[in-house]
Amino acid sequence: MPVREKLSVIVGTKNAENDIGDCLESVKWADEIIVIDDFSADKTIDIARKYTDKVFQRKMTGYPEQMDFGVQKSASRWILVLDADERIMPALEEEILEKLSRPTDASGYLLRRLNLVLGREIRHCGWYEKNNIRLFNKEKVNYDLRLKYLVRMRVLGSLGMLDNDLIHHTCRDLYEYFKRVNLWSTLNTEDLIERGFRVNNLNGIFYFFIKPGAIFFQKYVLKAGYRDRFVGFLVSLLSGITYFLTYLKLWRRQSRGPQSTLWKKSWHNDPVMPGEIYYIEKRFQ
């Protein structure tokens, strides 16, 4: 029987004390766990140290760079990349171990994320598709470091498929969801600026009026978001709104010049539960 390939798990965190414990618990079986932390203000690091010695702190300069840093620190050839709000269920664990224990041509595996929004599963809206490479051979797959926040990977060779889902707790309540919409649109803006994209009076009509509506139509109707009931409607609508906000922020940045202190801004930096509001906490699970 051939020897199983060793696996390194890389987890990127920031202010994730509520999530990191459960996340690392679900990947305890891996040969090596590496946590890359972007200087959390809470107990994230202390919790992570209980599971692994390899906890590194690194300033976030871009998501791909952060993960590439982890890849360089890893000892084994096969890498599994996770966020703090993602969980590996036992079925996926078995499948991964099985894939690693037999010889393969694949240089990486595509998998599907099952997003949980307000405790409900999103199985449509274009969010439930096999388009994530999370398990890969680091000699054949690497990150495109030119992009700052979106993820694009260069792959040599072919890709396999994983059949079981990765659980992703996208957000537990709407406060968190709108906060993410704010963050996602800012990150999209950063990448559009990186690519030299500009909005003007002419293409503005398309990007402000037509594209958000088209995105909503695509997610809700073409990708059958209506089958996820009300949460599907929310997800589709907020996707459209995210695009609208992206181009709005881009327009604003164009007229004001660069403000590159994105990660210092307090309205993105604080943990998911700020004390500034009367926060309504619920447990959905």
Binding site: F178, W267, Y278, R283
Partner: protein, 262 residues
């Protein structure tokens, strides 16, 4: 001539507080109630006044107006926010009131709202009178978010505006909007507003849309060009967010709520 106390309620305003205090340092007394800021707000405020009091954060500043007023020594009060400032013309007008030329006990002051870089004249944002100058024994205070003090007697109107910087960029505006809508949704929930399957299309789509159109068409949002359009869109978003959060409170699977402060 009567003496004036300026009261300000702050939380994490280190980038704005100096700009505000520079324009009111002529007042006889400045009282600052700080809701446990994490930044240098208190330190910066102490350069201007000794009367800085720290209280627990509440998410919005209205409940602490009473606290601030209770620490003041003078009868006349000017209530300001950290993102507002007093122009020299407004100062003159306030001085005239203090010297006894007007007989009213409370005054509404117009507000010049600056959104991003632009003074917004449409969308119902101007003049947007707020009751900010008053004798403290002639008003009642409400604890609700975004409410004015309530005058007991007849009040006068000012001509010169307070200048109000609503936001510097869109991220900040959305961040504030997200916090406020959580509070508003919770208040609506306590009042008993209900969103069910019968009225969800009305509450979640038609009401936001009609509010946005009302702002853009009937309150002349179009006068401000693209900025008016942004405000109309944000109006839609605010009402939608508020009502969807209300829906969330009602339909959470396990009905386990608590008020959360740090």
């Amino acid at each position: 001539m009567d003496k004036l106390s300026v009261i300000i309620v702050t939380r994490n305003e280190e980038r704005k507080i100096k700009r505000c205090l520079d324009t009111v340092c002529w007042a006889d007394e400045i009282v600052i109630v700080d809701q446990s800021s994490d930044d240098d707000t208190v330190k910066l405020s102490k350069e201007y006044t000794d009367k800085v009091y720290v209280v627990d954060p509440k998410g919005y500043c209205e409940p602490d107006r009473k606290v601030a007023v209770s620490h003041t020594a003078n009868e006349w009060i000017l209530y300001l926010d950290a993102d507002e400032l007093v122009s020299p013309e407004l100062k003159e007008e306030i001085m005239r009131v203090l010297s006894g030329q007007n007989k009213n006990n409370s005054y509404y002051i117009p507000r010049k709202n600056i959104f991003l870089d632009k003074w917004i004249k449409g969308s119902g944002w101007y003049p947007g009178y707020v009751l900010r100058l008053f004798k403290k024994s002639y008003v009642n205070f409400s604890d609700n978010i975004h409410t004015d003090a309530i005058p007991i007697t007849r009040s006068g109107y000012f001509k010169n505006p307070i200048i109000h910087y609503t936001c510097e960029n869109i991220d900040e505006y959305l961040y504030k909007m997200n916090s406020y809508t959580s509070i508003l949704a919770f208040q609506a929930y306590k009042k008993g507003v209900f969103i069910g399957s019968t009225n969800c299309i009305i509450k979640l789509f038609l009401v936001p849309l009609s509010r946005a159109l009302h702002k853009y068409l009937f309150q002349a949002g179009y006068k401000d060009g693209f900025y008016g359009f942004i405000i109309a869109c944000f109006t839609f978003l605010t009402v939608f967010m508020m009502n969807s959060k209300l829906w969330e409170i009602q339909y959470s699977d396990t009905f386990n709520m608590k008020l959360h402060t740090r």
